[in-house]
């Protein structure tokens, strides 16, 4: 009986088999990514010139090798690392920026809000993917630059969402009640509004993760991903596309894991959305 709203959400989430399975899968992915050096049979730079471009299973290479005889399986594992660190990094960046800006704009209002929102509008008008391209070009290729580029490119939508949330919650009577009790603006924004806005924000964030993984791969396709030889899925996929006919395993395995990961995170996001959306229970 004693259930907080979060608990309720979790209960609903748990009943969604697909989402729960995806969550477990995502957890596994994270564990695998963390322990990649232990699991991967080879280092991602290890070359094996005798077994170049071999198919799965040949020469002890589970998923075959690339043009340098590097183990595709190991590279996919390390690529997972890249993908996840970029995605989480970018989402955290975006979230922090979005929370600060969205809360300020939504709660304080007035001039500050107009200023912040004008800024967000500009950032929104800057096509986000173009922004990432330019930013990575400027900062050079590194995980850090990617995180920043993708993070900055996606905070805008998040900030708008936070602000929209804050604006609706601000109308709720408990905010006025809190003011009448003598709570300061900061307390209201951070202690009262934020925890109640967190549901939808969490949902966007969870959707942001697959989007960020996709964005990283996209940039890698343009030659703007992490620096080789650090494997990245985008890089592997673009290489794979180039050898579509001759070495399909170079495309298929990274692409399959990539797609699975995206799907899993998307489904988790979906599950979260349904879990936080209590409207289904209302009537």
């Amino acid at each position: 009986m004693t259930k907080s709203p979060l608990r309720h959400a979790w209960d609903r989430f748990r009943r969604n088999k697909l989402a729960l399975g995806s969550l477990i899968f995502c957890g596994l992915l994270i564990i695998v990514a963390l322990s990649a050096p232990l699991i991967a049979p080879f280092h991602y730079t290890d070359t094996d010139f005798d077994n170049k471009l071999v198919g799965p299973g040949v020469g002890g290479h589970l998923l075959g090798t690339d043009a340098l005889g590097r183990d595709v399986f190991s590279r996919v594992l390390y690529g997972l690392r890249t993908a996840l660190s970029v995605a989480f990094g970018a989402e955290v960046t975006a979230l922090v920026l979005a929370l600060i800006i969205g809360l300020l704009a939504g709660y304080v209002g007035g001039r500050l809000e107009q200023g912040l929102m004008a800024g967000t509008d500009v950032m929104y008008a800057f096509p986000s993917y173009l922004f990432a391209v330019v930013l990575v070009t400027v900062l050079g290729r590194s995980i850090f630059a990617l995180i920043l580029a993708i993070g900055i490119a996606s905070w805008v939508t998040q900030a708008r969402l936070v602000r929209a949330q804050v604006l609706t919650l601000k109308q709720r009577e408990y905010v006025e009640a809190a003011r009448s009790m003598g709570a300061s603006g900061f307390t209201i924004a951070v202690r009262y509004i934020l925890p109640n806005a967190i549901g939808p924000i969490l949902v966007t964030t969870s959707f942001g993760i697959p989007a960020a993984i996709g964005a990283e791969a996209g940039l890698a396709l343009l030659g703007l991903g992490v620096e080789p030889p650090t494997p990245s899925w985008g890089g592997m996929i673009s290489e794979g596309v180039r050898s579509l006919l001759s070495a399909p395993h170079l495309l298929l395995f990274p692409a399959a894991l990539f797609a699975l990961t995206l799907l899993a995170f998307t489904w988790v996001g979906d599950g979260l959305r349904d879990a936080f959306d209590a409207s289904g229970d209302q009537r």
């Binding site: 209960d11 609903r12 009943r15 289904g280 229970d281 009537r283």
Partner: protein, 338 residues
């Protein structure tokens, strides 16, 4: 059922017996929200359904029209209306009755009107659906109907969108919409909660006119004053059951069921400043954990165990005064309580 035996079936405009409705909650649990309800409505008479919030009043009437949400399901009972069992009808046949023979006024007029269609469109579309009249005629009728419910300048207002009208006007437009086909039965779900007392009075007078033309009315309300002013009979519901049923005056003046007594005890009214205020203790039941026997048992000051933990039938306490229904209550002690 035992109560309505003295009426011949033809008399009844609507005869509902043993209606049961269930809901599936999102956690899979099934709730019986309406638990074996029977009542009748006579032409030109109004029945008030009163009772606690969540006692199943709205669900009862929605069940009749087949308008339950996807999660709800009628699991038993019959509802004879003009010789047909509403609950057994196919959606296609039910559709022909809805709107034409049975009109419904929804609880919240703002939400019950489509915000993107003009009032005219919404007033007339069912005239066209049912082939009652043609387009031009429908328009005339719409203006007429708006005028009838006391909206000034109906020609102009008919072209408005719902949000452009005040709450009171919308409520009236909603009533006009239900009346425009001159239905035999009108169901009004708390039609006056959103308006203040002066407008409430106007609306009730409007409905009274309809009643005089022979329309039977089911009126759901919280306000016992409204029931007294407008309705002929009253049915008191609690936790999906009928607690008590009688003609309005019988019930309001001589309530027999402890819940009805409590309800009246907690109603206050102007001029009653010095009357004692006796709230019903406790809180409404959790439908998922329905108490055994009388659902009011846990809150009942009169309760005596184990009798109250047994199923309670609606028993006749007293014959109705001339021409009105018998006074019945679902409490074995009812006869003793005055």
């Amino acid at each position: 059922m035992s109560l309505s035996q003295d009426h011949s079936a033809q008399d009844h405009l609507l005869e509902v017996s043993d209606l049961r409705t269930e809901f599936r909650r999102s956690d899979g649990e099934r709730l019986t929200v309406v638990d074996g309800i029977s009542f009748t409505v006579e032409p030109g008479k109004a029945l008030a359904i009163v009772g606690e919030s969540g006692s199943g009043k709205s669900v009862t009437v929605r069940s009749l029209l087949g308008l339950l949400p996807r999660t709800g399901r009628v699991t038993g009972g019959t509802a004879q209306f003009q010789g047909k069992d509403l609950l057994a009808l196919k959606q296609r046949d039910l559709r022909k009755i809805r709107g034409r023979d049975i009109g419904m006024v929804f609880q919240n007029a703002m939400e019950a009107m489509n915000p993107t269609l003009t009032v005219e469109r919404q007033l007339t579309e069912h005239l066209l659906w049912h082939g009652i009249c043609g387009k031009a005629d429908a328009r005339k009728r719409a203006v007429q109907a708006l005028g009838d419910v006391g909206i000034p300048e109906p020609e102009r207002r008919v072209r408005m969108y719902p949000f452009q009208m005040s709450g009171g006007m919308r409520q009236r437009a909603m009533i006009a919409m239900a009346m425009i086909t001159r239905p035999a039965l009108l169901i009004a779900d708390e039609p006056t909660t959103a308006v203040d007392v002066t407008i409430q009075r106007q609306l009730l007078d409007l409905l009274a006119g309809l009643k005089d033309q022979g329309t039977g009315v089911i009126m759901i309300t919280h306000d016992l004053g409204v029931a007294r002013y407008f309705c002929d009979d009253v049915m008191v519901m609690y936790a999906g059951r009928v607690m008590e049923r009688a003609s309005t005056l019988d019930l309001l003046d001589r309530p027999r069921h402890p819940y009805s007594i409590g309800l009246l005890g907690s109603s206050i009214e102007v001029g009653g400043r010095d009357l004692p205020l006796i709230p019903i203790p406790g809180s409404p039941p959790d439908l998922a954990r329905r108490p055994k026997g009388c659902p009011f048992n846990p809150r009942c000051t009169q309760a005596e165990q184990p009798r109250c933990s047994e199923e309670q039938e609606l028993i006749k306490v007293e014959s109705g005064s001339a021409g009105s229904v018998d006074h019945g209550a679902a409490c074995w002690k009812a006869a003793a309580l005055v």
